[in-house]
Subunit: 339 residues, 2 copies
DNA sequence: TATATTTGAGTAATCGATTACAAAAGCTAA
DNA sequence: TTAGCTTTTGTAATCGATTACTCAAATATA
């Protein structure tokens, strides 16, 4: 194994000191052209490469950023991470990925190890119910940016989408298409995003003088089986709905599968709108209307907010709470016109 | 901002030296129970946390591993990374993600910066045509593991799937189902995986006495539009095919869309098998037969191979070339029986 | 009690780079 | 030729932790 070349190896070879070598390599003006050229040439010859670890220790900047998500093999998070990486890489930052699997304890442990690893910032979609674990991050004055799922904290930035607005738009769209008995597949409303989608749905009904009924709201895990199950349940009602706004695309798909089985025509007799713009929604037959959360935009902006915070040398904390507008994507599953 | 507590802060407070504090914190036996207890208590009081950067510089181990992929928002790579992270996290390793966007130059730059960042290993699905950039990794004796796309190099491990076998199985399945004019949507055969899928397809035909024809092989980018286009082209042939084995699920989907447009019945008149087991294949109508590449298994094993290499203190290089068997997933698009 | 052996803690080097300060060398001008 | 600059280089501290080596104190042994 080749031992790594250090500045001292170069220094010894040239009979000078490490300080001079360092100056030559860093465009420090306090050095003669001749020495500089010689050092540079020798550095190349000896395959010298800077040890970023030593630099990080000295400078206090590791150029590593922790990105914490529930899991990365969900396309939504993968897209966000993609955008974060694309945005930060040109600035020399590396992305360290952590998956919490929605386990609060795991998340807290990751926060600890990221801090110990001396990351320059943490971008996180938090599974945490408490803000306490984040105090340690703030105490160390490490930029912290929430995305997707946020915590409300002093001086902490966040980038989220307006779930309320997305749900409102989706529901209003169904109303405008002429559907009147609109049900809702909700996620776990202890989680903000699902609560807001529920509230947006409810408000749209109210604003358009449609009676809101709890019978029409079913808490549905995000999978097709649960969607089918929930739809069956709705069909049993005396007054069955004629449309569903689902907080999850997979549950929406389940509903569609079940509707097909019952030979209920989509969208003529029944409309479905999902949420998330999962890749499959575009390809299905019928294609599924859904709400796009623009994960790329979210990642890009989260990264930009982080960059602003680190470049903000003034020490003042920049708090930005950016709420992205979701985009309703109307496809065949809810649009009589486009059929 | 709170200044981070170092072992010297603890030492000063207790009137001892940093060495003693270090020993207390590291279960070094050369320390009295009393001092140790005192240090431990004080460390907690002062919120001491080990600076891993300093440790990494001293020990030469950063506990960071670079993972390089074309892009992470492709579910295949996202799944591999998920498995790698799940496997390595319990061993204290952090994953640094790099996206090459299939740009060779970018990939080489990433290899450089990862080495400079003193990673303990590199796991990569390479876009590189040359092996030279990897010599630097080997020279530094850093474990290198290829997955999915490999380079053939001395002493370098790889985890791939048997593309030939997957293609062979898929094609054979079509033959067994009674299709006789089987076409192939191929990717760019300069890339090994596509070459091997092509060869597996061809061999299956030959082994079952079916004439191989270059007219039936179309190079098709991985998207639906290209798939539709390619299918149109095939239908124009005097002797149109009755089945397609596509090296890409998206192209397969395009073919199916086009078949539907032509009111050609699937699978009765025409069968389609894709490759990759993209999530949407399961949900489509008809569901699409495909070849699963078990990305989770691949990531898990790649991580394990890495762990073996680092734990292998002997300095001997462990070279492992693991080829995973792909799994043919038979769904409605190619199975008359299951319909 | 005197010597040998443990035990516990300090000293200082090390990992690799940067940089304030000091010092030496080169140059200018009187 | 020499005081006074400027330029270039060296010295040594620093970032935070670990550890071989040394030495003093405490304990054990004769």
């Amino acid at each position: 194994m080749e031992k790594k070349t250090t500045i001292y190896d170069i220094a010894k070879k040239l009979g000078i000191t490490g300080a001079t070598v360092s100056r030559a390599l860093n465009n420090n003006p306090k050095i003669s052209k001749a020495t500089k050229a010689l050092v540079l040439k020798t550095a190349v010859e000896m395959n010298y490469e800077q040890n970023k670890l030593a630099l990080a220790l000295k400078s206090g900047k590791s150029f590593n950023v922790g990105v914490v998500v529930p899991r990365i093999d969900m396309i939504f998070f993968a897209s966000i991470i993609r955008a974060i990486e694309d945005e930060l890489a040109p600035h020399g930052y590396h992305i360290i990925i952590c998956q919490t699997h929605d386990d609060e304890e795991k998340e807290n442990k990751y926060l600890d190890t990221l801090l110990n690893a001396q990351v320059d910032g943490i971008l996180i979609s938090s599974s945490n119910k408490k803000t306490k674990p984040f105090n340690r991050v703030l105490l160390k004055n490490i930029p912290l940016v929430f995305f997707d799922r946020k915590q409300v904290m002093n001086g902490v930035s966040s980038v989220t989408i307006d779930d309320f607005d997305g749900a409102y738009k989706a529901t209003k769209h169904l109303i405008m298409e002429g559907y009147t008995r609109i049900a809702h597949f909700s996620g776990n409303r202890d989680i903000d995003i699902y609560k807001n989608r529920f509230l947006g749905y409810k408000q749209a009904l109210i604003d358009h003088d449609i009676k809101f009924s709890t019978n029409y709201v079913i808490q549905t895990p995000s999978n097709t089986v649960a969607g089918r199950q929930a739809l069956k349940q709705l069909l049993k009602l005396k007054q069955a709905p004629d449309a569903i706004f689902s907080a999850s695309d997979l549950a929406a798909l389940g509903a569609i599968q079940e509707l097909k089985q019952h030979s209920i025509k989509i969208p003529d007799e029944f409309a479905v709108v999902g949420f998330s713009n999962e890749p499959f929604t575009k390809f299905m037959e019928p294609s599924i209307s859904t709400v796009d959360q623009s994960p790329l935009k979210m990642g890009e902006i989260a990264a930009q907010v982080f960059l602003q915070q680190v470049s903000n040398s003034s020490g003042k904390k920049v708090k930005k709470n950016i709420i992205l507008p979701p985009e309703l994507i109307i496809r065949k599953s809810s649009s009589k016109l486009s059929n």
